[in-house]
């Protein structure tokens, strides 16, 4: 507990001159100082790095052709030295698929989060800054989206956009067009909560003196929004974005699991699980490895987000 009462060991008295003269800490340094005390967050960060190393480092040892090569002679083989995670129903190596599927899952998580940020921040910022009619129209729209549970909206939209989208060639690899569909669909159903957070930030922030000062010096509306208010409300956006990645990875897994997500040949952790529950009593390795990877990455990102929330909080005094 903190008190404002002067105590014999008051902070000023114990500061050594060197500390008094050192330049003030930047936001990044302050955040890092608080973040590294958060054991769970450090655990999350380390786990996340390990998973990323596994999925992207694994590329060096296994080619994508291996991940998609079917071998009907070796169907549903239990984990062995040759296939450490076993093989699936058409004889593909599950370890190779978790490596390449993980890349797609992480990619979907990150890009869907950017789509979410783009929509959520713009709607929230306009709504909060301009108020009045703009605000009430945008907020009615936000509420309308929130009234339907996200997974229902996702399934309808995934079906809507899923009509024969061609495969995409990129970096010498072929991606199923459904990856793009899933990214967009997750992005455009996830933004309402973020929009509300940003709106409330803007609502309070626009009354602050520094905004008045910026106006007085003749700053344009665009500058006030993007250079003055937005950087000052970045903390909750970073936290929401981090947690948004975990949510997007889970959502991708849900819809792929339900058979409406990313289509073959592209593997994701989610679509590796599709239909796996039919083999619950014969082949546990079909669902266990992709499942545990999803659970781990979501846990890691949630820990990270939690740590960031505490570390970025300007009211938290622990340095």
């Amino acid at each position: 507990m903190e008190t404002n009462l002067p105590t014999p060991a008051s902070p000023i008295a114990t500061l050594i001159p060197d500390e008094l003269e050192s330049p003030p800490l930047s936001l990044g340094q302050l955040t890092w100082r608080r973040f590294r005390r958060h054991k769970m967050a450090i655990f999350g960060a380390v786990t996340l790095v390990l998973i990323i190393l596994y999925t992207f480092g694994g590329m060096l040892f296994v080619s994508e052709a291996d991940a998609n090569r079917t071998d009907t002679g070796a169907r549903m083989q239990a984990p062995s030295i040759e296939h450490p995670f076993g093989t699936d129903t058409i004889g593909r190596d599950i370890m190779a698929r978790t490596i390449y599927g993980g890349q797609i899952s992480i990619l979907i998580g990150l890009t869907a989060m950017f789509v979410e940020l783009l929509i959520g921040v713009s709607i929230g910022a306009f709504s909060g800054f301009f108020g009045g009619k703009t605000d009430s129209i945008l907020m009615r729209f936000t509420e309308a989206v929130l009234v339907i549970p996200q997974i229902f909206l996702l399934l309808v939209m995934a079906k809507y956009f899923a009509q024969s989208i061609p495969n995409i060639e990129m970096l010498g690899r072929t991606f199923s067009g459904s990856v793009v569909v899933i990214i967009i669909v997750i992005g455009i159903t996830s933004w309402p909560y973020l929009a509300r957070i940003v709106r409330s930030q803007f609502l309070s922030m626009k009354e602050y003196d520094f905004v008045l000062a910026a106006r007085a010096t003749g700053a344009s509306t665009r500058d006030i929004i993007f250079r003055h208010i937005l950087p000052n409300s970045i903390a909750p956006i970073i936290v929401a974005g981090t947690l948004g990645v975990a949510a997007a990875i889970t959502l991708e897994a849900y819809i792929s699991f339900l058979g409406m997500g990313v289509r073959p040949p592209t593997a994701t952790w989610g679509n590796m699980l599709e239909g796996a529950y039919n083999y619950i009593d014969t082949a546990w390795w079909l669902w266990f490895f992709p499942g545990i990877l999803i659970a781990l990455i979501v846990l890691a990102i949630n820990f990270l987000g939690d740590g960031l929330r505490d570390a970025l909080d300007p009211h938290s005094r622990a340095v």
Binding site: F152, I280, W284, L299, N302, F303
Partner: protein
């Protein structure tokens, strides 16, 4: 008595909220309707395995009103078409009066898949989903209250730390992974070890019949799957509100007066600590429904979630729209109930 007075003072607020819900439902129904129209041809899958002849297709499309412009279809869906005539035989003369009465008059239309009224199709499944959800909700509340209070009263002990870690892990665990893991342990492995094992599919064994004990036994895994994440989340929440209230002045006063500890904890502190849970339970209803989709799919539970999945994949607009609009109305009503309950339980809250 107080609730009565409160409702009277809140009536303006309640009426305003209900009026605000009208444009909301209008917007969302329009968006969903337009999305549904472009999801593929429902007539294509109607004949089952038989290939439908193209003249049959055209006739069916006309009979179902699917040849009309989308806004007209939406209008018919919303207010019905009994005030107008349609052309059923394709000779260009509108001769048959419409029979649909529209959603606004309680007619959700007829399923394109099995030609049964939507209210009937959904009604058959609704009770199964409600059974699952209400049981889950009861277990969520009891378990999270017990766990939350226990860890608040034993803050920073080894047990509390274990609970904290466990709840964090469960909170992040995807529903399907939990379902598959528990299925594997309690159904597959328990069977292999010769222990009494849990069933994984359906509501009852066909040869045993639909008895209470059969259904209860089949509900264990689905209910556990549906509730674990919420138990984890809520118990964290109750722990923190409980810790907060235990530090309040009035609790200290109660202690100073020498009241017995259980009375302080369960009557003075808990009453205030559990208050926010009321709102959260009402607002989390949509998430519980979302979890029900995955749960019902995995465990083959014949509820609304599976109904929704089956009919989305066959582009059955009336059923899908019906389910989503019912959910939307339920969500709005529960939000309102949460507001009223909160004002009733906490006299400091006043709505304008």
């Amino acid at each position: 008595m107080r609730l009565h007075n409160l409702l009277k003072t809140m009536s303006r607020y309640i009426i305003r909220r209900l009026l605000q819900a009208i444009p909301l439902l209008f917007i969302i129904s329009m968006i969903l309707f337009i999305l549904m129209q472009n999801m593929g041809d429902p007539v294509a899958t109607m004949g089952g395995r038989k290939v439908t002849r193209s003249e049959d297709r055209i006739r069916l499309t006309r009979q179902l009103g699917l040849d009309k412009p989308i806004l007209v279809q939406y209008l018919y869906w919303l207010v019905g078409n009994d005030w107008t005539k349609t052309d059923l035989d394709g000779d260009g003369v509108a001769e048959t009066p419409g029979k649909r009465r529209g959603v606004l008059r309680g007619d959700f239309g007829v399923s394109l898949v099995n030609r049964k009224p939507v209210t009937m199709v959904v009604g058959e499944r609704l009770s199964n989903t409600l059974l699952l959800m209400l049981t889950a909700e009861a277990i969520i509340l009891v378990a999270s209250l017990l766990i939350g209070i226990y860890s608040a009263l034993h803050q920073y002990t080894a047990m509390d730390n274990t609970i904290t870690t466990l709840t964090f892990i469960l909170y992040s665990m995807p529903v399907f992974f939990f379902a598959l893991l528990t299925m594997y342990i309690f159904a597959v492995n328990f069977k292999a070890w010769g222990l009494p094992y849990l069933p994984t599919v359906g509501m009852f064994e066909p040869e045993q019949g639909k008895t209470v004990s059969q259904v209860a036994w089949h509900m264990v895994l689905p209910v556990a799957t549906l509730s674990f994440g919420f138990i984890a989340g809520y118990s964290r929440y109750i722990r923190s509100t409980m810790l907060e209230t235990m530090g309040q002045d009035y609790v200290r006063t109660a202690k100073a007066k020498g009241l017995p500890r259980p009375e302080i904890i369960y009557i003075h502190a808990l009453k205030n600590a559990a208050l926010p849970i009321v709102t959260i339970v009402a607002l989390d209803l949509p998430f519980l429904l979302g979890g029900a989709i995955v749960t019902e799919r995995i465990f083959g539970w014949p509820g609304m979630g599976r109904l929704f999945l089956d009919h989305v994949s066959r582009s059955d607009t009336p059923v899908v729209m019906g389910i989503m609009m019912m959910i939307a109305v339920a969500v709005i009503i529960f939000q309102l109930i949460a507001d009223v309950l909160y004002a009733w339980l906490d006299p400091r809250i006043r709505y304008k």
